[in-house]
């Protein structure tokens, strides 16, 4: 079996970490060119957690990790997209999404906060 890492997410709002139930979390991978491959689709439970998803990581000797994109959304809140989240073999990546409620009469329909994870300066 190939090496794999685990991705899990928690979705909540406010500093008080109020969990958001039934938020959608999508795990996708950029394909060479422009397409995206859907790796997993998860709904959060009453504590705001998703069940963990396994993601295949590169074999030994190649890159130490694989990058995936994580999107969390729930009606009433602005979306958050985390680009290039890292997954290491045998390590669980926990992504927290702190969603901010959308203002009433938002100025745009596509309200998405994009977080780009750059690689370690190693």
């Amino acid at each position: 079996m190939d090496a794999h890492g685990i991705v899990a997410a928690q979705v909540f709002t406010s500093e008080a970490r109020i969990p958001i139930e039934n938020a959608v979390v999508l795990i996708t991978k950029k394909l060479p060119g422009s397409g995206r491959q859907l790796l997993a689709f998860r709904l959060t439970d009453a504590e705001g957690f998703t069940s963990p998803a396994a993601v295949e990581t590169p074999p030994d000797g190649e890159a130490p990790f694989v990058t995936v994109d994580l999107l969390a959304e729930k009606p009433g809140y602005d979306r958050i997209l985390v680009e290039d989240a890292q997954v290491f073999p045998g390590v669980e990546t926990l992504q927290e999404f702190m969603l901010v409620p959308t203002p009433e009469l938002p100025d745009a329909y596509d309200r998405t906060e994009v977080i780009r994870v750059s690689a370690q300066p190693l």
Binding site: A16, F65, L70, A85, Q86, I115, Q120
Partner: protein, 393 residues
């Protein structure tokens, strides 16, 4: 001295860019900061000993910045930046790795110092391949760990053998060291002791400043020393230690920091019309100011860019800063004054929270929803078209 023992700050304010560049400040719990930095700096698949050594370097470096009021004494309101050239890498909102999270929860109240010194070690580090420096080499620590070195041996081999590991340091809220009011002749107490100690230390390099006894009494001799100090550092020569003089002393002396604590509970708010009154600005008092502060306090809970606000009913510098921060956030002209556009933007965002979080009631239990302002409104709602009795003063 105001604070002698270094402490672990409950929260740390990070500037997401180079110090003088425009960038947001975010305030996060200290342990979360360390987890984020460690996830952004090294690979979680490294040896546990290497990860722990790197964690202690990250913690000590951040604590040194806090302890020395490095940025505050230069006029900035944050404690550390996310710029890798000066500080450590931090990516707001990134995911963290489970093993790093467990490690940091175990060690975040530990830090490094040199034997005989109080301050946390300014534990510089670099990756050891493309960049080398005097401090810890990140790849080097991994290689030593693979060779069987323990966490402390790795640290000693980079930082020297006079290293000490402090465990279970106290956790305290961050406050600024400046006592809040100018310290002048006739004052006594620990703030005066700090001034005298700092002056004595500075006078070692600037012999024109006379030595004074650190007795905690601000007398004529201390005042003369302060005047000499102010003359040398181009400050107003008045013999009074105000904010500028204090932080010049701190900057020279390595002071101790306590920034104002981030809290914004305690909303005691009675419902009334939320319509925009007229420009609410610094110096105003009254119900409209309370409404504005209440909305800002709620927003600050949801938006990490906003400083917290106390609901006092008086529009002071704190409220002005919060309004300005919000204006900057939504790209309105930054005036620090709640004019029509700012009020409406704040209200719309607040109403979105009210709608989604409070009113739908799905997130708060019933008794909490009952305490929210909307359930109080029907009884106290003003008649349509009626004006608020308490207009802005």
């Amino acid at each position: 001295m105001p604070v002698v023992t270094p402490y672990i700050p409950e929260r740390i304010t990070v500037h997401l860019g180079a110090p003088s560049s425009w960038a947001a400040n975010v305030t996060v719990p200290f342990a979360d900061y360390v987890k984020n930095v460690l996830s952004s700096e090294v690979y979680p698949t490294w040896e546990p000993a290497a990860l722990e050594a790197n964690a202690l370097a990250v913690i000590s470096f951040a604590l040194n910045r806090v302890y020395t009021e490095y940025y505050r004494s230069r006029g900035y309101s944050f404690q550390i930046t996310s710029s890798t050239a000066i500080d450590q890498k931090y990516i707001q909102g990134r995911g963290i790795f489970e093993n790093i999270s467990e490690l940091v929860d175990r060690v975040f109240s530990n830090y490094l110092r040199r034997a005989g010194f109080v301050e946390p070690l300014a534990a510089k580090f670099c990756n050891g391949r493309s960049v080398t420096c005097e401090g810890l080499s990140q790849w080097g620590s991994q290689e030593l760990a693979q060779a069987g070195y323990g966490m402390f041996s790795i640290l000693q081999s980079y930082y020297g053998y006079d290293l000490e590991l402090v465990t279970n340091a106290p956790v305290a809220p961050v406050r600024e060291s400046y006592p809040g009011a100018p310290v002048r002749r006739g004052d006594t107490g620990e703030n005066v002791v700090f001034i005298q100690t700092a002056l004595n230390r500075v006078s070692q390099d600037y012999p024109a400043i006379p030595k004074v006894a650190a007795d905690g009494v601000f007398g004529a001799l201390t005042e003369a020393a302060v005047r000499d100090f102010q003359k040398i550092f181009s400050l107003t020569v008045d013999g009074i230690v105000g904010r500028a003089t204090w932080y010049q002393l701190v900057r020279l002396y390595v002071g101790i920091l306590r920034l104002s604590e981030l809290q914004s509970r305690g909303q005691t708010f009675t419902a009334s019309s939320w319509a925009y009154p007229d420009a609410v600005r610094e110096g105003d008092t009254g119900e409209k100011v309370r409404q504005l502060q209440y909305m800002l306090a709620v927003l600050a809970e949801f938006l990490p860019e906003l400083p917290s606000v106390q609901v006092t009913g008086r529009f002071g510098a704190e409220t002005k800063a919060a309004v300005a921060a919000y204006q900057q956030l939504v790209s309105l002209p930054v005036t620090g004054e709640a004019d029509g556009a700012a009020w409406d933007a704040i209200y719309a965002q607040f109403e979105g929270i009210e709608q989604t979080v409070f009113r739908d009631g799905e997130l708060f239990p019933d008794d909490a929803a009952a305490a929210s302002r909307l359930t109080q409104l029907p009884a106290e709602a003003p008649a349509p078209g009626s004006k608020d009795e308490e207009e802005t003063a």
